[in-house]
């Protein structure tokens, strides 16, 4: 697949949240306010691109040559956990303001299905190192896009009247469902323009 194809696929067409439900917990949990949604979005982009690259390196340069592919799940989750810790320490050292903005979201990311998801999908799709990195980055951008739109809708929803049982999480899910419906349009329209 071409690089542009990968970007469009992961940002729009198979958006991780709205078509594959990966990263749904933080999507519902952290989308109340726009500021925190943006913070979470950028943290996810950062970790996902790093994780996709790091897991590619470990998988293809260590696990495959030693035919230890069955340790994939374990090594990937440990790489991601270590990576998140490492990123947290580096950001804390280099840029305290950035740490203040992203810091509280980073621990949550270890158990974010989206990060593990992109690592596994990149391996299953036989991506190269660069393709994996781009896939991770674009899936992260897709997450940011979705959570950004979601949080702005939810900020408006807060001022509207919603039937009592639907307040909070239920209406958030229904909103996400409607967004997913809108994202279905990307398939045909985009490809017609792109591929003729």
């Amino acid at each position: 697949m071409t690089y542009i194809g990968i970007i469009i696929t992961f940002v729009f067409i198979s958006n991780f949240i709205l078509t594959q439900f990966l990263g749904l917990c933080p999507f519902i949990g952290v989308s109340r306010k726009m500021d925190s949604a943006v913070g979470m979005g950028f943290a996810v982009i950062f970790v996902m691109s790093m994780a996709a690259l790091a897991t590619w390196v470990i998988y293809h340069l260590i696990l495959v040559p030693l035919s230890l592919e069955f340790l994939q799940t374990m090594t990937f989750i440990l790489i991601i956990a270590t990576l998140v810790q490492f990123v947290e320490m580096v950001i804390q050292k280099i840029s305290p303001p950035l740490y203040k903005a992203l810091g509280i979201y980073l621990p949550l990311i270890t158990t974010n299905c989206a990060v593990m998801g992109i690592a596994l999908i990149a391996v299953r799709s036989n991506y190269s190192a660069l393709e994996s990195f781009i896939a991770g980055f674009s899936a992260g951008v897709g997450f940011l896009l979705a959570i950004l739109v979601m949080s702005s809708i939810r900020e408006k929803l807060d001022t509207e009247w919603v039937p009592k049982p639907f307040r909070g999480i239920p209406i958030a899910f229904i909103t996400a469902g409607l967004m997913a419906l809108a994202f279905m349009a990307f398939d045909k329209a985009l490809l017609k323009n792109l591929l003729g």
Binding site: M74, L195, G196
Partner: protein, 188 residues
């Protein structure tokens, strides 16, 4: 200091025990997984050629799409080919097994492993999905690689799964090309 060593040692023990256990389980399941894959491939080959025999597999190096091919033998003569093709779908590779006549006409298609989303691209696993590709691929009727090359009923059926359709169509078209060129090269 001692604390760190003890913690590290304990973590190492847990990891080592886990890795050894998994190694053992892998040793049991790996042959079963391999045997299952071979069996699936053989079954698919049988399903594609109920009326003929197939030759041993011949690998195709240096071709990004076509991985291997088998000759279809009917009474000792080559009647066509089965190609193992890799197509690009929604979420990565799709393994396709397709039977061609000697002029490139598609006779039957089977979708093997794929990562398509259940409900969307998975429709392609339905045998009827492939009907629109059958009897195409030769000079007079090319493989439909765009939606406007389909009849409207068929085009409606793939709505929501255009990438899967394009992936399969392109892979099949490439396969037809491969068969036609191969025939030209080795024709007596």
């Amino acid at each position: 200091m001692k604390n760190i060593l003890v913690s590290g040692g304990k973590l190492f023990i847990i990891c080592a025990v886990a890795a050894v256990t998994l190694g053992g389980i892998n040793a049991i399941t790996e042959p079963a997984i391999k045997a299952r894959k071979i069996q699936e491939l053989n079954q698919a080959l049988k399903a594609l050629t109920p009326d003929a025999e197939t030759s041993a597999t011949e690998a195709v190096p240096d071709n990004p799409a076509i991985k291997a091919f088998y000759s279809v033998l009917k009474g000792g003569k080559t009647a066509g080919y089965i190609l193992r093709i890799i197509g690009n779908g929604y979420s990565g590779e799709m393994k396709i097994l397709a039977r061609y006549e000697r002029d490139g006409t598609i006779k039957s298609v089977k979708l093997m492993d794929n990562l398509e989303t259940p409900g969307l691209g998975k429709k392609a696993e339905d045998p009827r999905y492939m009907e629109k590709f059958l009897r195409t691929g030769n000079r007079s009727r090319p493989v439909p690689v765009r939606k406007d090359m389909l009849q409207s009923a068929e085009a409606d059926a793939i709505t929501g799964a255009t990438i899967t359709f394009l992936g399969i169509a392109r892979a099949l078209a490439e396969g037809a090309q491969f068969v036609i060129e191969g025939e030209k090269k080795y024709a007596p």
